[in-house]
């Protein structure tokens, strides 16, 4: 076993986990508190990517561009909630799925028209494009380290917001029993708008920080959204803590599967079959994980209390 490779892959797994967490945090709040199935959550991820790419190009600075893109995300999220999603709360899940799927198609095409099929990208400044060498000869690209650190900072801030502040108390209360919160005289409409705006900023931030790596393109949110749904189902719908732990677990298992499964299969079959089976099995791993966890804990690892 190559320990340097193993260590680097653990880092890569964490990095994927952080991105998944940022997406899943908003998704789990919106689903858990507002009971809204928002397939267009990946669209917000795409919004973040393109907003950041555009602001970075205009200002010439990575940090400034991303800072400007955050309030833009909040505005975009609130507008989307007020104009479209608010009308969907009373409808059943199928209507919500159809309407938000429509949003995906609409925005994917709109972005193609505005930014072109080549999409957009962000070039890393020289101070972020190097490699960090850790003890033992492990090297990690600087920027991926930045993603991990900023993701952990956001997770801590979110933890503080949800568990130590009044608004966080309302959010938790909303996740446990929506009707009761409304009955106690809380402006549930405003709370929903705020929660959705927060989710939009988190998803947008994920899109922003991944853009220097994957580039921004129309439709980029859909493939990762499926993983984000897996994460919230594993973690327990409505739970931020569950989303964090499930995201890290999913990120690690997916990365480890892609890295080592073909080698792990070699003792059981010939090289050609291992090569064919490897990618197939590694892309199944997280779904197998989900199935196992749901069999043992049907409402996920950390379901909100009272739900």
């Amino acid at each position: 076993m190559n320990y340097i490779l193993l260590a680097e892959q653990i880092f890569n797994g964490f990095q994927l986990g952080i991105i998944l967490f940022l997406l899943a945090a908003g998704l789990t709040l919106v689903f858990g508190i507002m009971d809204l199935v928002n397939l267009a959550h990946g669209t917000l991820y795409m919004f973040g990517a393109f907003f950041a790419a555009t602001f970075v190009e205009l200002t010439g600075s990575l940090v400034l561009g991303m800072i400007l893109a955050l309030p833009a995300m909040l505005v975009a999220g609130i507008l989307l909630e007020v104009i479209v999603l608010r009308t969907l709360y009373e409808r059943d899940h199928l209507d919500q799925v159809l309407a938000t799927f429509g949003l995906i198609i609409f925005f994917n095409e709109l972005f193609l028209v505005v930014w072109g099929p080549e999409g957009s990208g962000i070039n890393l400044p020289p101070y972020l494009s190097g490699l960090i060498t850790l003890p033992g000869g492990i090297t990690v690209p600087e920027y991926r380290m930045v993603i991990i650190v900023s993701g952990i900072v956001i997770a801590l801030l979110l933890y503080f917001l949800v568990s130590k502040t009044r608004i966080g108390m309302l959010i938790r209360a909303g996740a446990s029993n929506r009707e009761m919160v409304g009955a106690l005289g809380i402006n549930i409409k405003l709370l929903f708008t705020l929660v959705f705006g927060l989710g939009a900023v988190l998803a947008g931030f994920a899109g922003m920080i991944i853009t220097p790596i994957t580039q921004a393109e129309s439709g980029m949110g859909e493939s990762i959204l499926i993983l984000a749904f897996v994460v919230i189902v594993i973690g327990g719908i409505g739970s931020i803590k569950g989303a964090f732990i499930a995201a890290m677990l999913t990120g690690l298992i997916d990365t480890m599967g892609r890295s080592f499964i073909d080698v792990a299969l070699l003792p059981f079959m010939d090289a050609v079959s291992a090569e064919t089976a490897g990618p197939a099995i590694s892309s199944m791993l997280i779904y197998i994980l989900m199935a196992i966890i749901l069999a043992i804990k049907p409402s996920g690892l950390f379901p909100p209390k009272g739900a």
Binding site: Q9, N12, E118, L131, P141, T255, S259
Partner: protein, 392 residues
């Protein structure tokens, strides 16, 4: 009542006349990707079909023709639906386009069953060069494994001993890998087929670094290219391991690479049957007119293949004396391929795939515009290896 009839009579004649004309027009149905990020290829191809149409003066064998473009959305089921629509509703005489092997695999059987002549302008799905070859199926591009086979030979020439192979996990991606492994004489030290949904290669790049190869072979067409090459540089691999690519660094992508300042791609090598600076008169005219039509850009090989596809159909119709419905005569004409292609003269094998040269190409900055430039011939008159399996 009578008044109505009198009024209606000339009207119905007016309606009838253009219908008769339209029925006589030759119709070419073209299925390409015009939405999704992959439309970067489709839009170049559309421009190239239009250049070809201009060069033909809008006529094939003395008859006017029209082109009907459809978008496959990069999905096999939609490509198939659009093919059916073109055959049943538009009643096209020819079908061409088709960028993706999996889209073509779903669509070609429909067209062939309806007795239409089908010309693939890009997708080189291997079975059609061998067991599944069909008298009405033509390919104006290549068979998937041909270009990577040329790359394998180039790797041998350049002294690469240990190779890491990275590709996309779909029909063509696997056939590309099979191609390079067929001719590469060194050792393949690692191989990863990445799902099409993945745009982050962190796990695979860490494996490449650990395997320490002296060359990396990649097949990341369309929008996979910019993302992959960015990460290759971020991982610091561009300084230590040379990149060799097929269908990943091309005319469709180069303006994007240049705009995003991906300088590490300059000087990298790829292989192809054609290049914008390939020296022949047809190619020079095509490259110049394409730039006028499409944002001043150099055409990609997708565009070159699209141009040749329409010219091939036109040569068939001309040989049939303008009677596009006479499929047998058109087919015979197409087999002779009596026209000047952008790659010189085309010779078809019995499986209707071109037998052609493959060139090494280097990415260069020429007068401030990035392009691929021919650096010698790697293989001459290359036919798909499965040609003998074709029983035509």
């Amino acid at each position: 009542m009578l008044k109505k009839l009198i009024l209606a009579a000339p009207l119905s004649v007016m309606l009838l006349v253009p219908n008769v004309e339209a029925a006589e027009k030759i119709k070419v149905g073209i299925v390409i990707t015009l939405t999704t990020p992959a439309s970067i290829m489709g839009k170049q191809m559309k421009a190239a079909y239009e250049v070809a149409s201009d060069h033909l003066g809008g006529k094939m064998g003395g008859k006017e023709f029209e082109m009907i473009f459809e978008d496959d959305g990069l999905k096999p089921n939609i490509g198939k639906q659009k093919t059916e629509k073109l055959i049943k509703k538009d009643k096209v005489d020819f079908l061409t386009g088709y960028i993706w092997s999996h889209v073509m695999g779903a669509s070609a059987p429909v067209a062939l069953k309806a007795g239409k002549i089908f010309v693939s302008s890009n997708a080189g799905h291997s079975p059609y060069a061998g067991k599944m070859c069909h008298k009405n199926f033509f390919n104006a591009a290549w068979e998937n494994s041909q270009n990577p086979m040329a790359m394998g030979s180039l790797l041998n020439q350049r002294g690469v001993k240990n190779l890491y192979v990275l590709s996309l996990n779909y029909a063509a991606g696997k056939q590309m890998v099979a191609g390079v492994e067929r001719t590469f004489k060194g050792k393949v030290v690692g191989k990863d087929l990445v799902p099409m949904a993945h745009k982050d290669w962190s796990a695979e790049l860490a494996k490449v670094k650990a395997a320490k190869p002296d060359g990396v072979f990649v097949f990341y067409p369309g929008s996979w290219g910019p993302a992959f090459f960015t990460q290759y540089k971020q991982a610091g691999l561009n300084k230590t391991i040379p990149l060799y690519s097929v269908f990943s660094v091309d005319g469709a992508n180069l303006p994007v690479f240049q705009k995003r300042k991906m300088d590490h791609l300059l000087g990298t090598y790829n292989t192809m049957f054609w290049a914008p600076d390939l020296d022949n008169a047809t190619n020079k005219r095509f490259v110049a007119d394409f730039a006028k039509k499409y944002k001043g850009q150099k055409p990609s090989h997708y565009a070159a293949q699209a141009y040749d596809s329409l010219m091939l159909i036109a040569a068939g119709v001309k040989a049939a004396g303008g009677d596009a419905k006479n499929t047998d005569a058109v087919r015979k004409g197409m087999e002779k391929a009596d026209f000047d292609s952008v790659r010189g003269r085309i010779k078809f094998g019995k499986n209707h795939f071109p037998i052609q040269n493959f060139y090494a190409r280097e990415v260069v900055n020429k007068n401030g515009q990035w392009q691929v430039s021919v650096r010698g011939t790697v293989v001459k008159n290359h036919a798909p290896v499965m040609s003998n399996e074709c029983k035509l």
